[in-house]
């Protein structure tokens, strides 16, 4: 690449011919196609990528993978497509990508917040718990606005997410997670045996860590050639699904695994039809976890300066992207794999200043190669200090046994504290781990599901062993001829060599949450002896990287201070997601119109065309009121009520729940489910029924029509239909399975048009065939089958207004045409459409309850004033025993009453509390509350329903409703405000 001395010609897999342009903090930079944002920045010599969470310390790129704690950025295409906290080591660059560093002001190089660093002794472990206590007023003035703002990482986008996300359910016989040597082998063996296989890998390319093994050969092929050949074969098989850029992030019960596939985040101009991400919900017979291992840092003073990075990351950038992170590189390690990185860099022409190894005994072959390459070796040494503010400049070392200190000038330090097996998914599957003392790591031990771990996630480090293990797990043992396999020997956890280091320096355990070794020690000293407490007190492992690099260090340091063995201290719990998953992917299609289904009646479109304002009732859209020009809601509702009582109103009651109960035992069943007696209800008659639960409280109500000896048309409340049917089915299937009754939900099959008012009969009469509508032939609470507008109908004479009322049930498809016919005829006579608000007012004027509004699950039929609906002679019904419970028959129950305000113009607030003495001291004794409250235009005054202690014996009493600024005086009345004699309904 032009002018970049960090691109090493001949190294990596990227083509120098394919360049892309992106910006970082406003600077336009060039990268190669296939670069990650991290490799592109390194190619441009940029290590400083952000400021740390708490102390605002300069931070750089630490890793080359999803475990990255430091280089997290704000990535955007446009204003709405902005995502904070994206890991630069995962994000692929594309033409036009904009990257912005986070948590710095005014700029990344000069950040005011870094004053926190010099004050770091004031921010120790448990800082939040120690500080955010008092005084109360500091919350508003200091803690919230100042401290919360100073800490943190990205900023959430302000616009709605314009992208779409897809969801895919999938089933397979074998799901392989991870496509390194072990994963590819397992997938291949399983696929060749004919099984349906899904192979997923979180990276943009398959191959895992093999992609950086330039020396290794497998069956005589270079590692990259072996990967290519294996993939070619897998691609040719129709029983294999290969998913790259796909993270397995959750492992749930019964081998259910969730995958997040990033479909278009790497594309410069994604096709608009492409989803941004796809959520896979996979059910697998067998899961093979080949998730590899993650390299750890070493915990030493000032180990967080930019250009201090993992050895494996340096090697990945060199061997995959052709980028070197520096030109005078120091190596600090406790593990063989870092030596391989040093050799690769040296052979690419990069100066290796020294390899500093904490170990005394080092493999002779490594020593030999280092000598051949003329690399300085410091055995049994440790790093004691580093310098360099925006980039590391020097490293100081001394022998572990003490002695002369040496200082080296460097521009990059690579390190390896060994490898932590990625047991996240295994642990999520509820498998149990064991501690491998010799290698300082937790590895899978007891499985909880049909799952098997292979390769380095299982602690199997040798490549040849991993291949045997993986192939055996997939059904057939294979052995491949491996040469120059990488070695992962050696480890270092905790900070055993830096216990007494200068307490003003900072040895970071958790980079993302700014947790130092000294914080963990302090937490233990302050009494946090459980690792779960240490974690929460120090916040180690609680950042978006979930402690992928820090957990083993934190645990080891805590164990050391506690003077316990690591397994005694134990690990914190691994939880999904493995890496952060976007809300978009999880919300998926459940947004906007698809968030929750909307139910519309057959008459909805007519109401919409005629100016209705709608309200949501459950999932239903219901016409609330029909304002005329210039009318507000109040005026419209007043007009609808008055006109319905004077002439007639038409109302869409289609949302009523409807259940058809049929069979020889139907009447027996009705007797069981409802408190009322049903034996004597004649065919062609209707009855208002109350349904209780076994505890005696009202569960639902509705009018029930007997169409035949063995057939009932049941109506339920609008919201209650599913639960009522569920309860009925429960009794029928499990308690009385021999009864011959069949239940069918018919809520959506029938459209229901209610016509109420003195002229209701006159309005519908011309359309009705085969039914005599005269009051003597069809009195209140009767049902007839016949035709209306030539269409078969069930016509009920029922009323929820107290006026003469007809409810016309017709097949839903005819709902709108019948409605229109009736309206066209009735409108010239004065018929008005009315909505749910007028319906509520008119039913309240008559004292008709609404279950769920005037009852709340603790109200019995007696409490609600409908005790008459209980069949006194019945020997059984649901709730018969519950109603006899001592508390339900005791004095002092809250009972439903009417309320009239002393000032007739005052409309009480629903939910307002009621007291009997307004002069008592606060808190007052509340004796009830308002359940329904309206302005009654017909009565010229406000009306309310309320539940009040001993309400039924308080008629005529004066009570009080204290509100914030005023106390209202009310009189307890009957619940029936309008036409108490009930004469109008029989007209």
């Amino acid at each position: 690449m032009m002018g970049s001395s960090n691109r090493i010609p001949g190294k990596g897999n990227l083509s120098p011919a394919k360049t892309v342009s992106f910006t970082f903090d406003g600077r336009t930079l060039t990268a190669l196609e296939g670069d990650t944002l991290a490799s592109a920045l390194l190619a441009n010599g940029i290590h400083l990528t952000g400021r740390s969470f708490k102390y605002h310390r300069p931070r750089g790129i630490l890793t080359s993978g999803p475990e990255e704690p430091n280089a997290v950025m704000d990535i955007s295409r446009d204003k709405a497509r902005t995502q904070p906290n994206v890991r630069a080591s995962v994000q692929e660059v594309f033409d036009g990508l904009n990257a912005k560093s986070q948590n710095r002001w005014p700029s990344l190089e000069f950040d005011i917040g870094s004053i926190n660093n010099s004050m770091s002794r004031f921010f120790p472990a448990g800082f939040y718990y120690k500080t955010f206590k008092w005084p109360q007023s500091a919350w508003d003035k200091i803690y919230e606005p100042v401290i919360q703002k100073a800490a943190g990482l990205g900023v959430a986008p302000e616009e709605a997410d314009p992208d779409s996300y897809a969801n895919q359910f999938a089933h397979c016989q074998v799901l392989v997670v991870g496509s390194g040597a072990a994963g590819l082998t397992a997938a291949m063996v399983a696929a060749k045996s004919g099984k349906r296989v899904i192979l997923c890998d979180e990276r943009p390319e398959f191959g895992g860590s093999l992609l950086s093994e330039t020396q290794t050969t497998i069956d005589g092929l270079k590692a990259t050639e072996w990967i290519a050949q294996t993939l070619e074969e897998l691609h040719s098989l129709s029983n294999v699904i290969l998913l790259k850029r796909t993270t397995a992030f959750g492992y749930y019960a019964h081998n259910m695994i969730t995958l997040n596939e990033r479909v278009s985040d790497h594309l410069a101009a994604p096709h608009p039809d492409l989803p941004r991400e796809r959520l896979w919900q996979v059910r697998a017979d067998q899961v093979i976890l080949a998730t590899g291992a993650i390299e750890r840092q070493i915990v030493f003073p000032d180990n967080d300066r930019p250009a201090i990075m993992l050895a494996s990351a340096a090697r990945d950038y060199l061997n995959q992207h052709g980028v070197t992170p520096g030109h005078n590189i120091g190596v600090y390690t406790a593990c063989d794999s870092a030596w391989s990185a040093a050799f690769d860099l040296k052979e690419a022409g990069i100066e290796i200043v020294a390899i500093i190894d904490t170990r005394e005994d080092i493999d002779a072959e490594l020593l030999g190669r280092a000598n051949d390459l003329e690399i300085k070796i410091l055995k049994a040494h440790k790093v004691t200090a580093t310098t360099g503010y925006l980039r590391v400049k020097s490293v100081s070392v001394e022998p572990l046994s003490g002695g002369a200190r040496q200082k080296f000038e460097i521009d990059c330090l690579i390190m390896s504290g060994g490898w932590t097996p990625s047991v996240h998914l295994f642990s999520q599957s509820r498998g149990k781990l064991k501690f491998d003392e010799a290698n300082g790591r937790f590895i899978p031990d007891v499985y909880a599901q049909n799952c098997i771990c292979v390769g380095s996630c299982n602690g199997t480090d040798e490549l040849s062993d991993a291949i045997i293990e993986a192939s055996t797990a997939a059904g057939e043992k294979h052995q491949l001829d491996i040469e120059y396999a990488p070695s992962m020997d050696g480890h270092l956890i905790g900070s055993p060599h830096n216990i007494d280091s200068n307490r003003h320096s900072a040895s970071f355990v958790d980079f993302q949450n700014d947790v130092k070794a000294s914080d963990i020690r302090l937490a233990v000293q302050e009494g946090m002896h459980s690792i779960e407490h240490v974690k929460r007190y120090t916040t180690t492992g609680m950042a978006s990287d979930q402690g992928k690099m820090s957990n083993m260090h934190g645990l080891s340091i805590a164990a050391q201070v506690l003077n316990k063995d690591i397994p005694e201290v134990g690990l914190t719990t691994f939880r999904a997601p493995y890496t952060p998953v976007s809300f978009g992917s999880i919300a998926n299609h459940s947004r906007g119109e698809l968030f929750d289904p909307t139910r519309r009646t057959a008459i909805h479109s007519w109401a919409a065309e005629n100016g209705a304002v709608f309200e949501d009732v459950g999932n239903w859209k219901r016409a609330w009121y029909f304002p005329k020009a210039g009318e507000d809601m109040h005026a419209a509702v007043n007009r609808e009520c008055r006109t319905t009582r004077d002439i007639a109103g038409i109302f869409d009651a289609s949302t009523l729940g409807k259940i058809e109960a049929v069979g020889p035992d139907a009447v027996k069943f009705m007797n069981l489910m409802y408190t009322n007696p049903w034996d004597k209800l004649g065919v062609g008659r209707c009855r208002y029924g109350i349904m209780c639960r076994e505890d005696g409280y009202i569960y639902d109500d509705g009018v029930i029509a007997r169409l035949a000896e063995d057939r009932f048309h049941i109506t339920t409340t609008t919201g209650g239909a599913p639960r009522v049917l569920n309860m009925m089915e429960d009794y029928l299937q499990t308690e009385f399975p021999d009864w011959k009754v069949w239940l069918t939900s018919t809520s959506e099959q029938w459209a229901v048009i209610a016509v109420n008012g003195p002229k209701a009969r006159q309005i519908i009469e011309p359309f009705v065939e085969d039914i005599d509508l005269e009051p003597e032939a069809m009195p209140h609470m009767s049902v007839r089958e016949g035709k209306i507008c030539g269409i078969p109908c069930r016509l009920m004479r029922v009323s929820f207004t107290g006026e003469v009322g007809f409810e016309i049930n017709i097949p839903a498809d005819y709902g709108r045409s019948v409605w229109e016919a009736i309206y066209a005829h009735g409108h010239p006579m004065g018929l008005v459409p009315y909505g749910t608000e007028a319906m509520h007012v008119m039913r309240a004027e008559k004292g008709y309850i609404i279950v769920g509004q005037d009852t709340d699950g603790t109200v019995t039929p007696q409490d609600a004033g409908v005790g008459w609906a209980i069949g006194r002679k019945k020997t059984d019904f649901v709730g018969i025993r519950g109603l006899k419970r001592p508390d339900l028959i005791a004095e002092g129950r809250r009972q439903l009453v009417g309320l009239k305000t002393k000032n007739p113009k005052t409309v009480l607030e629903e939910g307002a509390q009621i007291v009997d003495d307004p002069n008592q001291s606060v808190p007052m004794k509340m004796i009830g509350f308002v359940t329904s409250s309206y302005w009654s235009e017909v009565l010229g005054q406000s009306i309310a329903l309320a539940v009040v202690e001993n309400g039924h014996s308080r008629l005529g009493e004066t009570l009080y409703v204290p509100m914030e600024n005023e106390t209202f005086e009310v009189e307890v009345t009957s619940t029936v405000f309008y036409d108490p004699a009930g004469e109008r309904i029989n007209g």
Partner: protein, 108 residues
């Protein structure tokens, strides 16, 4: 997400299709109107809520609509068996129970 075997459909189906319906084998007393307060309390309010082997009711609501019973381990979430409503509570053998136990702690 659990995979549940519906004894009526005779198929393993995802949990999304089912609703839990509480503890199984609690029969509604035939003389319910006459039972004592203590008996009613036991019938209506008291539940075992055991850690370990549980007998529970499910309904294949978004499927065949049938209620049925299951024997499940409440820690491992594994099912021993499902069976039709009205069938006797099955005897669970030691082997059956052992097959659904959560893994014992590996280390220690």
């Amino acid at each position: 997400m659990l995979l549940i075997h519906c004894p009526y459909c005779k198929e393993d189906r995802p949990e999304l299709e089912f609703h839990g319906a509480g503890e199984a084998h609690i029969a509604r007393p035939e003389n319910i109107a006459d039972i004592s307060d203590a008996e009613f309390e036991k019938f209506f309010f008291i539940r075992e809520n055991q850690k370990g082997l549980v007998f529970e009711r499910w309904r294949h609501l978004n499927g065949c609509g049938r209620f049925f019973n299951a024997a499940r381990h409440s820690v491992s979430d594994k099912f021993i068996c499902t069976y039709k409503a009205g069938e006797a509570k099955p005897e669970i053998t030691e082997e059956q129970l052992a097959s659904v136990l959560p893994p014992a702690r590996g280390d220690k």
